[in-house]
C-alpha cells in the first residue's frame, strides 16, 4: 500500500510545508502532490481534502495526516504531520522570540502588509482550482454557495453552519439521488507520475 518511500514523503511534505506561505494552505498540497508529482489523483485529493475539512482540528495538519496515511500507511500519517508542522513551529518560535524583544519595526510591518495581500491572491487562485474540479451538479454548487455565504459574509458560527448544511445536504441527496459530486474523476494531469 506504500506508494512512495517514507524518506521521499518526509522530504516532499517538509518542503510543501516550508514553501506554504499564507492561509488556505491545503492548496499547496494539491499543487505539490497532484499537479506536480501525480502521487495522488485529483478525485482522491478531493476526498481527502473534504475529510480533513470536516474532521475537527487544524485542516492543514489533518490533510497532512490523511494524505500521508494514503501514501504510506500509519508511519506516513505520523511523519507527514511532523514534517509539515515541526519546521514551521520552530521558525515561528524564533519569530515569537524576536517579536518579544521588539525587533519588528515599521519596515517589517509594511512588508508584512504587502505579503498578506499577495497571499490572498494566491489562495484565491489555488482554492478556485480545487473547487472547479470538485463540484458536480447544481445541488452541490448551491450547498457550497450557501455554506460560503453563511461562514463568509454573514460570519455565522462555523460549527452550527457545518451541522445545518450537512443535514441539508444529506436530505437533498437522499430524496433525489444524483451523481457523486466528486466522481467520475477528472483525468489526472500527471506528467511525471
Amino acid at each position: 500500500m506504500r506508494r512512495v518511500s517514507l524518506l521521499r514523503l518526509i522530504v516532499v511534505f517538509a518542503w510543501t510545508g516550508l514553501s506554504s506561505l499564507g492561509g488556505g494552505r491545503s492548496a499547496y498540497f494539491h499543487e505539490s502532490l497532484v499537479r506536480r508529482r501525480g502521487w495522488i489523483r485529483h478525485d482522491e485529493f478531493v476526498q481527502d481534502f473534504t475529510l480533513s475539512q470536516v474532521m475537527p482540528g487544524p485542516n492543514f495538519s489533518n490533510l497532512a495526516v490523511v494524505l500521508g496515511y494514503r501514501l504510506a500507511g500509519f508511519a506516513g500519517g505520523v511523519w507527514g504531520l511532523l514534517a509539515v508542522v515541526l519546521p514551521g513551529a520552530l521558525i515561528l518560535l524564533a519569530a515569537s522570540g524576536l517579536y518579544a524583544e521588539g525587533a519588528f519595526g515599521t519596515g517589517a510591518t509594511l512588508l508584512m502588509r504587502g505579503l498578506s495581500a499577495a497571499v490572498v491572491g494566491l489562495v484565491a487562485v489555488t482554492s478556485l482550482r480545487i473547487m472547479c474540479g470538485s463540484l458536480r451538479g447544481a445541488r452541490a454548487a448551491a450547498i457550497a454557495l450557501l455554506t460560503f455565504v453563511a461562514v463568509g459574509p454573514l460570519r455565522l458560527p462555523t460549527v452550527a453552519v457545518v451541522l445545518v448544511m450537512t443535514a441539508l445536504s444529506f436530505a437533498l441527496y437522499r430524496f433525489a439521488p444524483g451523481p457523486h459530486p466528486a466522481l467520475p474523476p477528472t483525468p489526472p494531469p500527471a506528467e511525471n507520475a
Binding site: 506561505l21 504531520l81 508542522v85 498578506s116 499577495a118 489562495v123 482554492s127
Partner: protein, 173 residues
Amino acid sequence: MANLALLTWTFLWLSFLCVGGGLGVIPEMERQAVTIHHWLTAREFVDGYTLSQLTPGPNMLVAVFVGHRVHGLLGAALAGLAMFVPTSVLAIVISHHWQQWRDRPWAVAAERALLPVGVGLMAGGVYTLARTAIHDGVTAALAVATAIVVATDRVPPVVAILAAGAIGWLLWR
C-alpha cells in the same frame, strides 16, 4: 502552573473547534486569549496571526506564538502540542477506518453530502482572509496581480508573494 494548565486546556478545546479551516476559529481564539484570559493584547494577537501567516506551516501555529507570550518555551510547546496532537491522533484513526469504509453506500453518501460543505468552507476561508488583509487600492491591486501571476503557472508561488511584498514595501515606504 495553573496558568499553564489553563493554556493547554484552552488550545485543546479550541483545536476541536477548527472545522473547515482554521480561519473559523480565530474570533473565538482571540476572545479567549485577549478578552477572557488577558494573555496578550489585541494588537499582539493580530501581529501573531500575521506572523503565523507569513511563516511556513499551518496558521494554527499562532497557538505557539500565544503560548510563548504566556510562558516562554514551555508555554509555546504545550500550546502547540495541545493544538496539533489530539486532533491528529483522531485524524489518523478516522482515515485508517475511512479507507476501509470508503466503498460502503453510507460512506459514499456521507462523502457526497460533505464535499460541497467543505468547498463552501474553503471559499469562506478565502473571504475571511481577504477581509483581514485587503484595506485599500494598493493591497487589492497586489492581491489581483499575484492571482494573475500565479494563474499563469510561470513563477513559483513563493516568488510571486515575495515580489508583491517587496513592491508594497517600496510603495508605502
